[in-house]
Amino acid sequence: MSREPVDTRRVDAREKVTGAALYATDLHPDQVAHAVLATATVGRGRITELDVSAAAAVPGVLLVLTHLDRLDLQSPGFIMGGGYGVQSMQPLLDDRIAYRGQAIAMVVAETLTAATEAANLVHAAYEQEPFAVTLDSPGVERLSQPAAIPLPFLADLDVGDAESAYAAAALRVDATYDQPAQHQNPMELIGATVFWRGDTLVVHEGTQNAGAIRNGLARQLGIDAANVEVISPYTGGGFGQKNSLQIHIAPLALAARRLGRPVKLVVSRTQLFHHTSFRPASRHRIRLGADEHGRMLAAIHEVEHQTSRHDLFPLMYTEITSRMYGVRDFRGRQTFARMDTQSPGFMRAPFEQPAAFAFESAVDELAYAAHRDPLEFRLANDTTVDPISGEPFSSRHLAQCLRRGAKRFGWSARQQRPASMRADDGSLVGWGVAVGAYPGSIVPSAAHLVAGADGRIRVEVDGHEMGQGIRSTIAILVAENLGVGVHRIDIVIGDTRVAAQHLTAGSWGTASTLGAVQAALRALREQLGADATGPVDLAAAVRATGRDHVEVRAETLGPGQTEQDIERARRGHPALSGPEFPGYSTFSWIAHFVEVRVEPSTCRIRVPRVVSVADCGRVASPVTAASQVRGGIVWGIGASLREAGEVDPRYGGFLNASLEEYPVPVNADIGTLDVDFIGEPDLRFSPVGVKGLGEVSMVGVAAAVANAVFHATGVRHRRLPIRIEDVLAGASPPA
């Protein structure tokens, strides 16, 4: 039979742009009631008085849940502490206030308006306690990570003798870099629609981890996980913020049970800044040593980041900085700084973005100290072996990324001396380069295929669609494999009724999900008696079996994984392997080239163009892959020039808790984004040849921007974001 050409466009684009795609809180089940949270106004302390009478008296109010109701709920546990939750501390259970913005009441009403009005009428009095909310606040408690969590994957990295090698190095850089707290702000707000069907709890929530929600709710409510269904076909951006069980869902489930009707909650944008995770502030001291020729000899990366009093959000910054170059002697030290906020968590390239900003800025400083072109310096210090494990990388085409990017960018026209290039309008021109890396991981994944006599095929699989395009990559894989049109493929993901729904994050989603789908396709071909490759006439093949459909299942694991990992995934826990595998290590790689222009008078920084070349193995879906990288670059520009969660230490929490005050880039901030891929399949890492992409796309962008600003102005900026006043302070006085 003839093969239909594969349509590589985003398969759910039409639904999304026409509004036909229904997100969790787009649902309006009959009799749905609306919930709104009231939140604490003090930085830490105890509730001494809680008066909900005015709230309860608002017409339409059905229920006000507070700790005084002695809610029958357990802690979900912290996702990084053996549990399921965005944090271990479940609000509404006692009178303790751990941070400003903590929920103190959930109001449920017939209408959103009534619930909002009533939530504002919840009155609390507090006994206040001292609190700390910045890395520099008194009262911050510091803990060495290996001492606090003695797990092998969180141990300090010590290879060789970095201190001695650094001390003996001819060229040295010693600099400290600051990364502020940042907030993911996915376009789809956090929220859920929840109801009970008999003894079964049904949860619609945009998530990256339906499995954790299911199992976590079972733990919190004391029910069987078999009685929880989590349905999340679309997530409107996750960026790590939706990677675990949020604190509002269990109380919503209680409210729905008490009221005997569906309840919906959408956390407001302003509340989001204190309701759920964020990127913790971090501070990085980088020391680099090189010989007089510029060969890198030693790297020391000491980092501390904020975490909450109730959870230890781990630090994994040195995982990539130890692998960027062929540096033999490496030392990493990672330290918790506990303070009074909600628990921070994963935000796109959670460790890699700040780590690469610091490390790749320092590498640029070292290149300048060695009087070497920063591109050529990086190429000269490349490696093919993982300096930590001593094993080869399954694939590393970073040098090719740098060379191809340099060519597309026109790097050879760059003048090395800072502040030496000018545009026609007098603007200072700066060209910066930086590289990024992201660890490769694989998780257990299960796929169930149902081929029908009507020629359609249904794919039920682990994985969540959060805009990254996993549904499209699945469709393209099936279409290319069987030669069926993508319109004949039905895909069910993000649904605990069909699979365990392990967390989709860490850029492992595509490789893991496609691995399972490919294994299932192989099983299907066997069932149908089809050849191992080539187009299949599904309808005819199914009919030939004498049945109206044929179904197959496949489960796949990461290298070295066992049944235990499948069981962990079934229980809703992360079960990942990588980036070190038996015999090799896997990372995705990227090189970014950035042009900035600095206005000579008012010192505004513009970014007219960026060239990025990624090594993510095979490109599983060209449209969504390029889109991922463009989005990553935009995030990187936001991280370098715009975004910071601002903290007034007198009040706790975040001050600029709205999109009016927390500036993310707008279209006018973004110039030309030129994206390319090496495209070499990594078949050692994955049977489908793909590595991760979503996170590595933004890793290194901020350093490339900062390096470009240095090149334009001659001034280093070691604190993000770089704002007008920072550049102005270093600008030459007016003539």
Binding site: T41, V42, R100, T113, T116, E117, N120, T270, S601, T602, C603, R604, R606, R642, E646, D648, R650, Y651, L655, N656, A657, S658, E660, E661, P663, P665, V666, N667, A668, D669, R723, I724, E725, L728, A729, P734, A735
Partner: protein, 334 residues
């Protein structure tokens, strides 16, 4: 949001009657781009809202007059911003509108409502627990000892240093605009510069309108300096952001290339629309050079009183005024 009484009116007389009847806490609704926002935050909790967006006498604008330009209070920012005559003959006025908000907001927002836009001080908009004399008189001012990067260099008081956020009024004050208002006592006019109050001890009182008064229109005396005008706005991003610093400059040059008429105002740095006569005086009679433009900028910020995080705006503002002077000068000779 709290429940409120809603009245929609069709005529000016009805509007005044409805406002008087609703009492001094009532609010006018036109585009709704500020009021709804603040009501959702419960910063504004008016018991009554009088919707004037259908009042025909407020709509429209006329930029063709020889003696003055007339802008109805109900005219939409987007419509006025893209008026061809305004763009040609008074670019600073058009630019002050273009650079405000987003296209969607400009499509809704009205010129009259925009004049009385309230501050973006995060302690004001953040509600509890922040001390704010403007929101809760007597509670104090969190900004004075807090994060004051976005706060005023001019016109602040012990009680309040919140910035007046508007661009349009900043440009208008440079042009000696007049405001016509109508109230239960009849119609009156006042210079735009008298419309806004400095905070003093009563930052909750932001304007000089009497209860029941509504803004009818803004009138701008025609001037050849309109052609030689510019509104420069420095923001934390390229669009859809309030000014870190802005400058409105309008001037004419005499036959020798010396500045004759000269009007300069600055935004993003003051508690009300802020004209800077010292800068005008510094520039008047001089040719426009790097040095004279810089001197005008320095004069504009000579009396600035910075706080902890906003001192950079003195240099940034100086440069912004200087850039705007040069741009206005290039337009004046064009």
């Amino acid at each position: 949001m709290r429940p409120f009484a809603y009245t929609k009116v069709e005529t000016l007389a009805e509007a005044v009657d409805a406002l008087v009847a609703a009492g001094p806490q009532a609010r006018l609704l036109a585009g709704g781009t500020t009021l709804y926002d603040l009501m959702k935050l419960e910063i504004e909790t008016p018991p009554a809202v009088v919707d004037v967006h259908r009042v025909a006498d407020l709509a429209g604008f006329d930029t063709s007059g020889d003696r003055e330009l007339v802008f109805g209070a109900g005219a939409r920012m987007a419509d006025v911003a893209e008026d061809g005559r305004l763009r040609r003959d008074y670019p600073a006025l058009s630019e002050s509108l273009w650079r405000a908000a987003s296209q969607q907001l400009r499509n809704m927002a009205t010129l009259g409502g925009n004049l009385l836009q309230r501050t973006r001080c995060p302690y004001f908009r953040g509600g509890e627990p922040f001390a704010c004399n403007k929101r809760r008189p007597g509670s104090g001012c969190a900004a004075r000892e807090g994060l004051d990067r976005s706060h005023a260099l001019f016109g602040g008081s012990e009680a309040c240093i919140a910035v007046y956020p508007g661009d349009w009024a900043t440009a208008l004050v440079a042009f000696d605009a007049e405001v016509d208002v109508l109230g239960p006592g009849g119609a009156r006019s006042l210079p735009l510069v008298r419309l806004h109050r400095e905070p003093g001890d009563t930052p909750q009182h932001e304007h000089t309108l009497e209860p029941g008064e509504i803004i009818l229109r803004v009138r701008v005396p025609a001037t050849p300096a309109g052609r030689g005008s510019a509104y420069l706005k420095i923001r934390d991003r390229e669009s859809y952001a309030f000014a870190v610093v802005s400058a409105a400059v309008a001037l004419t040059l005499d036959g020798d290339g010396r500045v004759d008429e000269c009007r300069i105002a600055v935004g993003g740095v003051a508690t009300r629309p802020w004209r800077v006569p010292a800068a005008e005086q510094a520039l008047r009679g001089n040719e426009i050079t790097e040095a004279s433009a810089r001197a005008a900028g320095e004069a504009a910020f000579a009396d600035a009183r910075p706080g902890r995080d906003n001192a950079f705006k003195i240099e940034l503002g100086t440069r912004t005024v200087a850039d705007a002077v040069r741009l206005a000068g290039s337009r004046a000779v064009a």
